[in-house]
């Protein structure tokens, strides 16, 4: 069961990652060139997924949009891990100390706000751009990884081999990196996949409200926003980017679930 999810998820993810990679060297049509006389055409041989309100090829837009989505989500998850994991390790190493309290209550503070709200706040204050969207999505990823790392690390700190390392005179930082971190990697990979899919949704959401990547950079969320008033007579303009978001997020979630089952069969039994 888990294996099938994993394969399906991996295939979907590979398709969109592949599309994103190919779009770096080739797309069917240049999306920065508008072809107004050919606007709002349904799918055809020349344009497999039709054209949008500026006559741009929707397939090309989706490929280039995949690049934007994946790049934004990947960097954002990178920021979340890069900051969250060391914070979590530190908190676990100094459990119960003032430092631990500071870190974890700081995380609670970020957690207290709905993630998309923070993202909107940040992009509204610093201006709408892909970079600010990355920072915004990255920031609300930090507490996710910090908490996960801390809880994973806490259970490891009582293990015998950690005790042995302490007896051998290793410092907290060294133990964290040499013994704790390798053992929470599984958790991080699973969570990373899930956060990656959330990042793609967040990017689409921000672009939808106009706070993500700015034109002419292609973005799935903005494609949806642009097609909104035309959905009644040009449904293909909304359906295709909508499916792209749906399938990518579905693929990543299935892959995340599959990975979790693979790494930790015990967890699957517990969670049913």
């Amino acid at each position: 069961m888990g294996n099938r999810n994993l394969i399906l998820g991996a295939v979907l993810t590979a398709i969109f990652t592949g599309a994103a990679l190919i779009s770096m060297i080739w797309v069917p049509y240049d999306i920065t060139v508008l072809d107004i006389p050919n606007k709002i055409k349904g799918p055809s041989g020349a344009h497999l997924l039709g054209t949008d309100h500026f006559g741009r090829d929707i397939l090309s837009m989706i490929m280039a949009g995949a690049r934007t989505s994946i790049a934004v989500a990947l960097v954002a998850v990178g920021i979340g891990m890069g900051l969250g994991v060391p914070l979590g390790l530190t908190a676990a190493a100094h459990k119960g100390s003032l430092l631990d309290e500071l870190i974890m209550r700081g995380n609670d503070l970020i957690f207290a706000f709905p993630s998309l709200l923070i993202a909107i706040m940040i992009t509204a204050v610093f201006g709408a751009s892909a970079l600010n969207a990355i920072i915004a999505i990255g920031i609300f990823n930090v507490p996710v990884f910090a908490r996960l790392t801390r809880s994973g690390a806490l259970s490891l700190w009582t293990r015998d081999y950690v005790l042995a390392a302490r007896v051998a005179g290793k410092g907290a930082a060294r133990i964290s990196f040499e013994h704790i971190l390798p053992n929470v990697t599984n958790l991080l990979i699973v969570q990373g996949t899930i956060q990656f899919s959330l990042g793609i949704l967040a990017e689409a959401g921000l672009s939808y409200v106009g706070l993500g990547a700015q034109p002419p950079t292609a973005s799935w969320g903005r494609m949806l926003a642009d097609s909104q008033t035309m959905i009644s007579f040009a449904p293909h303009m909304a359906l295709f980017p909508g499916f792209a978001i749906l399938l990518t997020v579905l693929g990543l979630n299935l892959m995340g679930d599959g990975l979790r089952d693979m790494f930790d069969p015990r967890l699957r039994r517990v969670r049913g």
Partner: protein
Amino acid sequence: MKLLNIRTGLISVLALAASVGMAQAKSDIVVAMQLEPPHLDPTSAAAGAIDSVLYSNVFEGLTRFGADGAVNPGLAESWEISSDGLAYTFKLHGGVLFHDGSTMDAEDVKFSLDRARAEDSVNAQKALFAGIESVEVVDPLTVKVTLSAPNGSLLFNLAWGDAVIVAPESIENIKTNPVGTGAFKFANWVQGDKIDLVKNDAYWGTPAKLDKVAFKFISDPTAAFAAVMAEDVNAFVGFPAPENLPQFEADPRFQVLVGSTEGETILSTNNKMPPFDNVKVREALAHAIDRQAIIDGAMFGYGTPIGTHFAPHNPDYVDLTGMSAYDPELSKKLLAEAGFPDGFKTTLKLPPPSYARRGGEIIAAQLRAVGIDAEISNLEWAQWLEQVFKGKDFGLSIVSHTEPMDVGIYARPDYYFQYDNKSFQLLMEELNATTDPAARSALLKLGQKIISADYVNGYLFELAFPTVASAKVMGLWKDAPTQATDMTAVYWAE
């Protein structure tokens, strides 16, 4: 048993109410528009949304704009102009009452005009009153306005929403409780939702045909489409999504009026910011732009190409679109001559309307084709006013100038696009001092040519004004000669 009686009673009451409703023509209407006014004083803000709700409905001036843009008598029933063109004597209508019951007389006119032109006035169009030297009360129904120099457009100026007559008794709370002389009274404002007006039974002129008018504010184009389709609103003035108009046209429940506006939609260019201070660069911009592609792509074909800052339906309009015909090769050549063979980078700051957002994407693509890299940033109106209009921190922008006959803004070097041309300023001074219609027409035509030849801004198209309404609503203005939604003659056909 008792319960049953109540129920039958209730049903018969409902049936009665329904039959009464059937017998009479509908007397209330819900009119939707995109923007909500920031407050309700048309004499102290530039926001057109204030006039869209209140002009002619609640507030009236000495003169008023008709549906065709002509200047008609308003609160002044007649006027005399002295032979030197310096003194205007207005005869006011008698028996005009403000909505609070006080009489409108010459004192109120003097108060309104003096307030608008005062040193500390916050009127958004103070230039309208600039030539007025004094306002005198001759008797309660006669006012004499003396000018420092002849001004051929005084009657036109006094028809603006910024020149409406207000009363000193009610001025303090005008921003939340506007008291005017119009055919409708202000009733209620639910902020973020709607403004209700009710019929003024004591109106001095032709009474309104409707008893109640509700102005609803729907800014989102998708919500606008849904509201009209579901008939939650009876009319939508300035419908924001031109792509949806064919669907309404095909539906017998609705009528679509596509009128002209005074909205010159321009690619505003910061004339003081290098490289746009070089006329060659501005000329290159003009030739890089394909107007028809913008009209088709951004407005779905609704809009008239313009080559200068003037409304095409005006008799004095000169078609100068040929001066800036689409020619990317010429544009590249001009850029090279100006010292930018590889183009340059600039900013393109866009306010929310779809003409700007979509038009901006199209223009950015067209400019990219000649090597100009215009970085788009989408702004909300407040940010746009702050950064572009007040702060002048922009390279390019797109906006529609909806004020009537506003070519005079080119004589103001501190206006946001910062065009500073002495000969044009002198021309406008001459125009203001000229009353002869033929001479004025010649000056206006010359003025259009000067700004077109200087490529001050990129002239794109005259905004179309689409109104979608229930097929039974009659008497709506088709065109928008000024920012107004005049409901005084609107009624329901049976």
